[in-house]
């Protein structure tokens, strides 16, 4: 028995060495031809048979360990997620994103209501108790407004637009992604984040309104704010969807349900990040620049918002041609 085991290992060793080299080659290539793929599947079958024998005949040896490692490597290569390339990305943006957005529509609406309600509450709070602004705004910001200036005045002279937009867009993307991810805390993270954002926005408007600067703040916000606030609402809606997957699991376990939910939302998260890059560029280059009159700012705001809606509904990208009967 012992000598036959050694003879078996001896006979199979060249095939395993060749397979090890083949796996290394397969791992280097991103795409495989049909012949290569079929050859790999056949090799996988043979290796599985050898591994089963090795587990029985020579357990705990280096040969068995080496075959285990070869098996896992080949398994990983064969089971890797197919890459759709640009076509795959286009398909995700055209087909998956609109479906998820439609599913999220009621949640987006509720998040919008929450933001408006908290904004109104913030406005009322500061309009009624002006001294509370110290809890929300920085000392420097308060001083600026009390002197009749907005903190955004001369922003471009202090910081170049490019740096400003990078800073803004990275911050906005962080906030939006955090609103999504914090849905993991059974939605409380997303809920509080939306509440806080609305509250701060309303409070800030109330404060500048008291000093006659509300119109100028509106002028600053309108070009980028429509997309930015909509995306924040979208992020909050995604956060609540994640929370829902944990509270009312749709799969066998909460973990599995969570994973499936995030997987469905992933393309929309990517699109939101891209939209915030656009909003950040507008906020860095257009919003603080006094050369842009109010009408053009409103036009930019509305156009970018419609572009966002088109992107979310999948209409921004050309549909595939349908065969005529």
């Amino acid at each position: 028995m012992k000598s036959s085991t050694a003879a078996w290992v001896h006979a199979r060793a060249p095939a395993w060495r060749a397979l090890a080299e083949r796996i290394a080659r397969l791992k280097r290539h991103r795409t495989l031809s049909i012949e290569e793929a079929l050859g790999a599947v056949e090799a996988y079958r043979n290796l599985a048979r050898d591994l089963a024998s090795a587990r029985r005949l020579v357990p705990g040896t280096r040969t068995a360990a080496a075959l285990e490692a070869l098996f896992t490597q080949l398994h990983a290569t064969l089971s890797r997620h197919p890459s759709g390339g640009w076509r795959g990305l286009l398909s995700v943006l055209r087909d998956d994103v609109p479906v998820v957005t439609r599913e999220l529509a009621p949640r987006i609406l509720w998040m919008g209501v929450l933001m408006i309600a908290s904004g109104a509450a913030g406005f009322w709070l500061i309009a009624t108790y002006p001294s509370l602004i110290n809890l929300i705004a920085s000392e420097e910001m308060i001083q600026h407004v009390e002197e009749g200036k907005l903190w955004t005045d001369g922003l471009v002279n202090v910081t170049p637009s490019s740096i400003l937009s990078v800073r803004i867009l990275s911050n906005n993307i962080m906030v939006a992604l955090f609103a999504v991810c914090s849905g993991f805390l059974f939605g409380l993270g997303s809920f509080y984040l939306m509440l806080l954002n609305g509250l701060m926005l309303g409070a800030t408007f109330a404060f500048v309104h008291q000093h006659g600067l509300a119109e100028r703040l509106f002028e600053f916000v309108i070009a980028h704010g429509m997309v930015e606030l909509s995306v924040i609402c979208l992020a909050g809606a995604m956060g609540t969807a994640i929370a829902d997957s944990l509270i009312r699991p749709t799969h066998g376990t909460r973990r599995e349900s969570f994973r499936w939910c995030v997987r469905r939302l992933a393309p929309l998260m990517g699109l939101c990040a891209a939209l915030l890059v656009g909003a950040g560029v507008i906020e860095g280059f257009v919003s603080p620049d006094p050369a842009f009159p109010l009408a053009s700012r409103i036009a930019i705001g509305i156009c970018s918002w419609f572009l966002m809606v088109l992107a979310l509904s999948g209409r921004l990208l050309p549909r595939r041609g349908r065969a005529r009967s």
Binding site: A66, L177, V262, A266
Partner: protein, 240 residues
């Protein structure tokens, strides 16, 4: 079933299993990666500022550099810092330099190399895992979860496993012929491989124990010196 093993049924009926990487390997890989990305980002920033502004300060007088130059100077370090993990995990198929040095790899729950979406999701959820500081949430989750995964891995359907790379000679063993059975030769090979790393007393004791087990108490193993023990082990392993 070993709780530190991740096993899935293979399509051939033969199970595929991986050793799960624990919080130690995970932290070790992260610390290496963190240092690499910080050094790279800082190197770019310092180099670009010296080249563009002539120093590590913002120019206060004279001609200011153009917006596009400034954009490149400050954007690249941010890109390096934030996209280091996702980009490298995609390019290196579930690994980054730190993971490679720590001998770990990210795999999806079906055992395959994770796709773009999974890699992005597991990295986006670092926002939660790093709360409140020093990856506290992520670390606690890896200690408590069954497969030692952080929240990002749960979201993406991935896990961190030990990247086992057997030495090529493991597959050559069958080609050798020796006096002992296969398992003993394998054991002798393993001892010989570790011979330089073991202390003199330890390796002598291990070698003598193996020789006695193979040849019985009649062997002269106790009388052999270090070199002779190594030669006898080599003979046992079938080395020529």
């Amino acid at each position: 079933m070993d709780p530190e093993q991740y096993t899935i049924p293979g399509i051939t009926g033969v199970d595929v299993s991986w050793s799960i990487a624990g919080p130690g390997s995970r932290s070790y890989a992260f610390i290496i990666d963190w240092h690499i990305r910080v050094v790279l980002a800082l190197a770019w920033l310092v180099g670009a500022m010296l080249f563009t502004f002539g120093g590590l300060t913002w120019p206060t007088s004279g001609a200011r550099p153009g917006a596009s130059v400034v954009f490149v100077v400050f954007l690249v370090p941010l890109v390096i810092y934030f996209f280091y993990h996702p980009v490298l995990e995609l390019l290196l198929r579930g690994q980054s330099p730190g993971k490679r040095m720590a001998g770990v790899r990210v795999v999806s729950v079906n055992g395959g190399t994770p796709g773009v979406s999974a890699v992005l999701v597991r990295n986006v959820f670092r926002l939660i895992d790093c709360l409140p500081m020093l990856y506290f949430v992520g670390l606690v989750t890896t200690f408590l979860s069954a497969q030692r995964v952080r929240i990002g891995d749960m979201a993406a359907g991935t896990l961190l496993v030990i990247d086992e790379r057997p030495p090529p000679q493991s597959l050559e063993l069958g080609a050798a012929e020796g006096e002992a059975d296969f398992a003993t030769r394998d054991l002798a090979e393993q001892i010989l491989e570790r011979w330089p790393a073991l202390g003199l007393d330890k390796r002598a004791a291990i070698a003598r124990a193996l020789l006695k087990k193979t040849h019985g108490s009649a062997t002269d193993a106790d009388a052999l010196d270090d070199d002779s023990l190594r030669v006898r082990l080599a003979a046992l392993a079938g080395r020529r």
